[in-house]
Symmetry: C2
Subunit: 311 residues, 2 copies
Amino acid sequence: MAGYPDSVRIREVGPRDGFQNEPEVIATADKVRLIEMLIAAGLKRIEVTSFVRADVIPQLADGPEVLGALERPDGVAFSVLIPNERGLENALRHRAGFDEISVFLSASETHNRKNVNRSIEESLTGLERVLETARAEGLRCEGVIATSFGCPYEGEVPSERVQAIAERLIAAGCAEIGFGDTTGMANPLQVDGFYARMTAALAGDGGPELTAHFHNTRGQGIANAVAALGRGIASFESSFGELGGCPVPAGSTGNIASEDLVSLLHEMGIETGVDLGGLLAASREVQSVLGRPLGAHLLTAGPVDWGGGGA
Amino acid sequence: MAGYPDSVRIREVGPRDGFQNEPEVIATADKVRLIEMLIAAGLKRIEVTSFVRADVIPQLADGPEVLGALERPDGVAFSVLIPNERGLENALRHRAGFDEISVFLSASETHNRKNVNRSIEESLTGLERVLETARAEGLRCEGVIATSFGCPYEGEVPSERVQAIAERLIAAGCAEIGFGDTTGMANPLQVDGFYARMTAALAGDGGPELTAHFHNTRGQGIANAVAALGRGIASFESSFGELGGCPVPAGSTGNIASEDLVSLLHEMGIETGVDLGGLLAASREVQSVLGRPLGAHLLTAGPVDWGGGGA
């Protein structure tokens, strides 16, 4: 085990990954206000929207309007999710609105086919074209590998396969690789071995940033984040309020909650640059917009008060 | 860090710690049926009830009836919570029904006074008398130290103080010390250092069993359990369904969920002797009795299916 990092970068994915799972379309003005609150809370990386087909995900059809309405302060990076070549083409019409793209595929053939109706090889070939164009546009690129820790359809996903996909994405220009535990199958022992392998194989001077994207499907998301921290991983993706979900298993929760992650990190003496109070304000606001209580524990418990005045 | 243990003992505290927090009194027959399901699921340690004053906790006024109705198979230990001398006196009228007692106090003066209206020293003096009598009756004794990892009223709780209390309880005959994170203030880094200290100071040949009792107040309960495991801790307390709660902070969740803990342990290759399917059946049954969904993640997600047939 390496020591824990002194500071950690968090990409807030709620506005894309979270909103995408909401059945009722959220008003563009609400989205913009919520993202402004996240920026005010000190989040420096925000996945703002996705350029998917509007008929596939109507919730994110207003991506251009959201990007157009937002001010982007110095030091804040907006990313957009790009599913394929056509998605990038559409996104580039709004090139001024964002800094980074995320592309994705699954390490499981079955999951990839169910998700994007392509084989892994077909996905990689398409994404290589996407990444070439994006880099020529000066965009920083993250490659996200879903089901990196297990697949609900195939079971175990060999980490050699995940590594080989990561190497293809890195060769195609990804500055960052995100490993997704898409249906919450990872455990801390597995995560420890996984990141030992990936840091040895992929990191180092000039290597890509390695990012952890855990789901809290089985209540282990935060424990898995600690295991990744123990291997020196200093980049995480999470969702305010614990927004997000996953159809497999039915009704499951999705991403780990940003406020639960930030609280953990601060309690462990690891800096995030995030103001937990501001983040909780954004989460309370999204609860109010959605009209239902969300799963983040900090929303009920509040921050730890070591002064003892909290009770 | 020590290695993880190969197997772990779990005390199911839902029938006492969980039920106690339920506002509506649960029928005795329901309690008995639920405990029978927990036994059938392979749980070998069950905190069945408490001998507190019936006017203070009406929910547990039927403790003698519950104990009287239950068969106790070989290898299964029932424990009862004993608040004070009078509680033990009442419990001993039903001596045939249980094997172990748990006594408790808080490591925080303020929390102890609010909880039992005694100073720590007054509590210790009373518990020493309780433990002397209980040992003479052949009962195994656990001493639970609440707010071991922090107090909502006092903030930090020095681990020297926790250790000193543990030493008094051990000297008075406790075979087991449970360290409670009563309002979920612990973090994995703190837990690692805490158990490094406690195992060095208290464990070893003839030393007491050291038990971890975490709450999931801030979503870190399972991560804290992993940190304790990393220090070789092999005894945990948890609650089926994630039953339980805590008035501070208001509305907070309580104990970590037994099924989330068991799933974690099995995924990490650590034996528990518990049949996860049977445990989930008990949790679904208590959901049905209480008429509301409970917080355990496994209740929604189900076990990890590495065969890939779960989706």
